[in-house]
Structure formats: structure tokens, C-alpha cells
Symmetry: C2
Subunit: 426 residues, 2 copies
Amino acid sequence: MKHSLNSYHATDSTTMMDTLNKNTAESFVKISRRGREMQRSPIRKLAAIAEARKKQGIHVYHLNIGQPDLPTPAPVLDAVHKFSRPTIEYAPSNGLPESLKAWKKYFGHSGILFDESELIVTTGGSEAITLAMCAVCDTDDEIIVFEPTYANYNGFAGIANVKLRAIPTTIKNGFHLPSEEVIESFVTNRTRAILYCSPSNPTGTIFSREEIQRLVNVALKHGLFILSDETYREFAYEKKAISIADFPQVRDRAIVLESCSKKFNVCGARIGVLASHNKEIVSTTLKFCQARLSVATIEQLAMVPLLENPEPYTRPLVEEFKRRRDLVCAELKTIPGVVSYIPEGAFYIVVGLPVKDAEHFSQWLIEEFEYERETVLLAPAQGFYVTPGKGVNEVRLAFMLKIDDLKRSLKILKEALKLYQRTSTE
Amino acid sequence: MKHSLNSYHATDSTTMMDTLNKNTAESFVKISRRGREMQRSPIRKLAAIAEARKKQGIHVYHLNIGQPDLPTPAPVLDAVHKFSRPTIEYAPSNGLPESLKAWKKYFGHSGILFDESELIVTTGGSEAITLAMCAVCDTDDEIIVFEPTYANYNGFAGIANVKLRAIPTTIKNGFHLPSEEVIESFVTNRTRAILYCSPSNPTGTIFSREEIQRLVNVALKHGLFILSDETYREFAYEKKAISIADFPQVRDRAIVLESCSKKFNVCGARIGVLASHNKEIVSTTLKFCQARLSVATIEQLAMVPLLENPEPYTRPLVEEFKRRRDLVCAELKTIPGVVSYIPEGAFYIVVGLPVKDAEHFSQWLIEEFEYERETVLLAPAQGFYVTPGKGVNEVRLAFMLKIDDLKRSLKILKEALKLYQRTSTE
């Protein structure tokens, strides 16, 4: 039997493979369904076009990504430079003792009490979320999320083979939660958990104590875990972000998920944590972690100084992001037809544009438009929705540019919208 | 409704939770089946007892673990100390360009040609294996492995919700592969891949070209992917380890999985790679990787000098391990009743002991036995078998001690076996 596949390079996986499988026998290999069905990262979709555009000499403002533009605090880099062990050894699977102690202290600064034995250091918040999903769900079990949602929850759910069931929230009330009754109506006999992010990526929304109480009530009534993604804890402008750890009624079912990436400007360090008072959650997660052995030793040590004393590093960061948010909100108001709100935290906003298809507009913007040799890269919000067809006229903006650049980006966006509305045949 | 769970700490997950669930309503939370069913790491099982024993002043020789005892090569530590970027930024999801280029060069040194676009840098070999499983399998699909197998394959399969189907190999022929017919008889309509490790952890076995050809034949006939864990490539003593990349017939279905951990003594750096000529495998894995964003930036950079020029660092390492292997094999021959063989590679051996239950013996050895205030920690081999009841009288030894300490450990093992056989009532 000849294997012409040797030189075969698929461009569109499903279609080409399906064709091949029809024509030939079972001896061809096939990618998994979960692999085929998984969507590409919506944030990185237009990145290739942006790169090509830059080569043409067009300056691109990145409003699409969450990569902080500020420097990593000196104590982190110092700790890296001073790493003095002779061997980069495996850390214990639950984390280095130094790191666990530092995370405990970190939570303590927010009045959250976890013992070291209730913590597991993870490779970024990403791993914490994936493993939490695996610890509470079997295949085809469901987790409730709120859309627009952090797009990568989809990816983690794909790996964990878990279904996300999305409850819609709307830009009309700044993406706050619906009533307890509405939330409850999404619970099925396969629901195992509620996963939420507050302050939220992608909306910047902070859920109030009363809103979180709704989630707590539903979780208590229906035996659900609560997976609380608190990555953006410090990025809270007018009001404090409430932790799920503040609700003693769900001590047995709350899982706090955290990450150093954003608060300390160390996205490339990949250090996060999973925290729970439920010993079974911790011991189960630890079993998964023992398989992957350990989290990078040097980064665990490098985070220690900031975790132990976060405030001097996060305060100026948060002040800067508040200035940026205020500017973005003010500028958005001057663009005709744009629907927005005041995000209470994080450094994102989901904005409604006066276009039919924000993905089409975003692609046109980066591919064709220019204003004085400059343009803007946006993240179409469709990728943040689980339900197809939702958020088609929305984009997410990240405040990852200096004030002047942000201002300039929004000026370009304004000009682009003017031209697009005049010329587009969408 | 009262929630006494607030102060509830489970010791035995399944039983206590089951009891609770019987007594009360559906509002209690429950760990996932995959979480409950996952076994604890067999290697770390006895570690807590060992720690307690050390506190009693007993010296413990660790023959149980694969943590290299040699220093990390200077260029790695230099690169860490010289990290000079102002921000620890996200790397691209497929890896930093510098890292991809270095991996390409690394493979080139072994005559294996991969383009950068065919590589994905991962958080250790662990992540590479987990993601390969997700890319080729859906829930309850099967992967063929050979037992005794690398224990953590079980863990990755747990996360990926994949079934491992184990083909037995035996100490009688040094754990070499059975015939093509036997291998084929394990293929079912759910089988998606064959996963093997050569040189092998835990057996040290290196499969010959002819043995790998058997796997290739079965994979071609039945449409299976081949996941080839080549972590121990350099640790090959008398004969070279053959890569699956040496078999052009399976260009479309071979996935090479690699890790820096052992060959460069950087276990705590967590850098591995997935390599395949199948573009769909690479693009699917990349989708999973986009969700988890990136691999630690500093470690990717730190591995570059060794990946580009591995031989000066791996050669002395391999020479040292050959000396250790020779010593272990010679010493084992002097212990009455022990069944062994010559492992052709890696730095492990699975040994048959003249006891009924090697787990009971290993626990007694670390908990009760001492010889001149010293004892030995072993890894019972049961944990390396998928089929319950197999390998009950076997242990895995890792050669992670200096020659003199290895010699001493085996002397202690010999004395322990003598006493155990005289006194044990097992």
C-alpha cells in the first residue's frame, strides 16, 4: 500500500482529512474531534496580518492583547540573576516551600487565609484552571460561565473534555450578572461548577458582593463547585474586588485561581496557584500535578519577593491602569455610535461598534486602513462568546499602551469607523 | 440548610464523600471520577516515610527517583544570570524563535531533520505527551503502551481522559517487545496510537530498529499514530537509540516527544518539545497551546546554548551513567534470588526481588530496617504496570547516586533482603 501522505500537508484539517478518509481505508490517521473542533485563539487571529502590515511600514497600535507594556519589577529580575543553586532540580509537585509560604502571605495581604497545605503552585493561571476543571468534571460534564468570557476557558475545556454552558450578560448593564433565577435556569444534571472571573477579562466588570451571593446560593442549592478566577484582584478602581474566599458558606466548594502574570508584569514566568479549603480538591489536583512533576523552579523563587510584599509593586501599576481606563472611556464617548460603559476593574473593555460585523471591520482596519501611516489591531469579541452569533458587533480593547498611544489609537479608530461606514458594503 | 461541611476535612475521599452523599441531598459537591480514580505517584508514595526516618537520624539512599545528582551545566546558569530583557513577556505559544531554532539544531545533531514550523516548545516532556494524547484521542479512545511503563503516562491519560491499553513485556528478555502479531492483537477499534519510550524509563531497554519496525507496521496497518518518547536519546551505552524519525513510512503519523530535563540536568526548568511532520498534529497542538499562552521565557532562552551544542555536556554525563549501570548490574548479580538484565540505556533498571510483595518489602525497608544507621528507598514497580497484580515482586532502581553510594546502597539492599527473608511473615 502506497502512503502518499508522506508528502501531504493539510491546510484545512477537517475537510482534507475527511476527503482522504472517504477515499481510502482505515489505515489513515485522524486528529481527535476535540482537536478539530477547538477554535483558534481569537486574539491571535489577526496577528499575522498585522505583522505583514508592519513590514509595509505601517505602525500598528496593539489594542488586542493583554501583554503588559510596563517593566517587570526589579526584585523579580534580581532573584533570577541571583539564582545560586548548583542544579535546577525538580520542585515538589505542589510547589517549593518558599513559594507556598509566599503565596500564603500574598493572600493574607487581601485578608484571605489559606494554609500552605491548601495551595498548589501551577504553571500559570492556565494550568490551575485546567486542573480545577479536571478535578470537578468528567467528560461532558458542564461548567457554567458567563459570556463574553475569557476565551481560553474554551481551550481548557477542550483539553479537559468539559462542556461550557454560557449564561449571556449584556453590555447594557456593563456585563453584570443576571438574577439568581436566570442563573439557576442554566443548571442541568450535568452541571458541576460555576466558573467566573472578577474583575473580568474581557469585560473589566467587578461583581458585587450581592452578585456573588447569587452564585453562592445556586452553588449551594445544586451542589456545584465555584471556580473563581481572581487573577485581576488588584485591578479594582472604585470598589474592591470581593473574593469567593469571603463566603464561608462555600468553604467546601470554592476554588480560587490566581496568577502572577498581570499583577507583577511577569506574563512569561508562568506562575499561578490553585487554592481551596476542600482537602479533596487539593489532593486530587496534586495527583494530576505529580504526573507533570513540577513547576519551573527559578520562576517560583523569583516570584517570592513580590508575593510577600505585593502592594508597592501593584499600586503604581493599578494607578496607571486607572488613568488609562479613564482616558479610554472618555475617548470612546466621543466616537459616534459606539456603545460602552465604565469597566470597574482589570484593563479591558468590550465595546459595541456601529458596524454589522466587528470581525470584518477589524480585518479591514488592520489589512487595508491607514491614518497617517498608522492603524490599530483589535480583538473581535465573537471569540469571547461561547454561543455562535453573539457579540458580532463587539470588540475587546486592552489598555496596554501608554496614555498618548491609547489616545492616538482611539483617534485612528474614530477615523476608521467614519470611513468604514461611508464605504463598506458589509 | 446547615452546611457542616464548612469544617469538614476528608481523609479518605471516596468513602467519606460517598457517606455524605448518601445522608444528604444533591447539594454536596463531588470530585470527578477521573480525579478519584487516578493513582498517586508510585515514586513519591514512600517519600513521606523516608523524610520521617531521616529525622530519626537514619541516612536514606534514594534509589527511587530520577532527579539527577549532577550539577546543571554552566552555560544554562550563565544564560539565566544574564537574562537582560526589561519585561518577562509571554513567548509565542509555539515557542520563542531562539528556542525553536535551537531545538532544530539539537535534532540535527542526531541526524533528525525538523523544520521550526514542525516543533512546539512545551512545559517539559510532560506537557508534550499530554497534548499529543489530546490531539490524537477523544474520550475513551485507547493508546497502546508497554508495561512496565513510565508511571506518569497514567496521569496524562487521566487528564486527557484516554485509556491506556498495556501490552506486557517481561524481565526474562530485558523487557523487549513481543512479536508483531501479539502487538496487533491488542489493537481495538478505539485504538488511536502507540506510545513508547526508548531508551525506556523505567526499564532502561532500547528497542532495536527491527523492534520499532514492528510498531511501524502495526501503525501503518491500523491507522495509528506513534508517540515516541525520546527523552533518554543520549543515554544509550552499547548501541545507539533509533528515533521514530528514522522511519520515513510513518512521516505522517510519528510524533517525537523530547525533554531537556535529564540530558542537561535541568529537571526543574520544564522545557520539552513536540515534533511532527504532520502539519495537522502541529496546528492542533498549537491550538491547545494558545489556550495556555506560553512556556516560561527565561528557561526557553537558558536551554539554547546546550540545545545548539549538546554533545560536550551529554557525553561526560552518559559516561558517568554507564559506569553506574555497570556497577549496579555487577552488584545485583551478587545478591541471591535477584532477577536482572543489562539495561541498554537510560539510568533505570526494573529488578525482580526474591520477595512476594515488593511494596511491602520497600515499606519495611524504609520504615523499619537499618544497616549501620542507613537504609534505602526503592520504587515498587507495581506503579509502573497498568494491569493490577503485575510486577508485584519488582522494584525500579534509578542510578542517581555516586558510584560509592550506589555500591553502599546495594550492600544495604543485600543485607535487608537477607533479614527480610528470615523474619518476614508476608
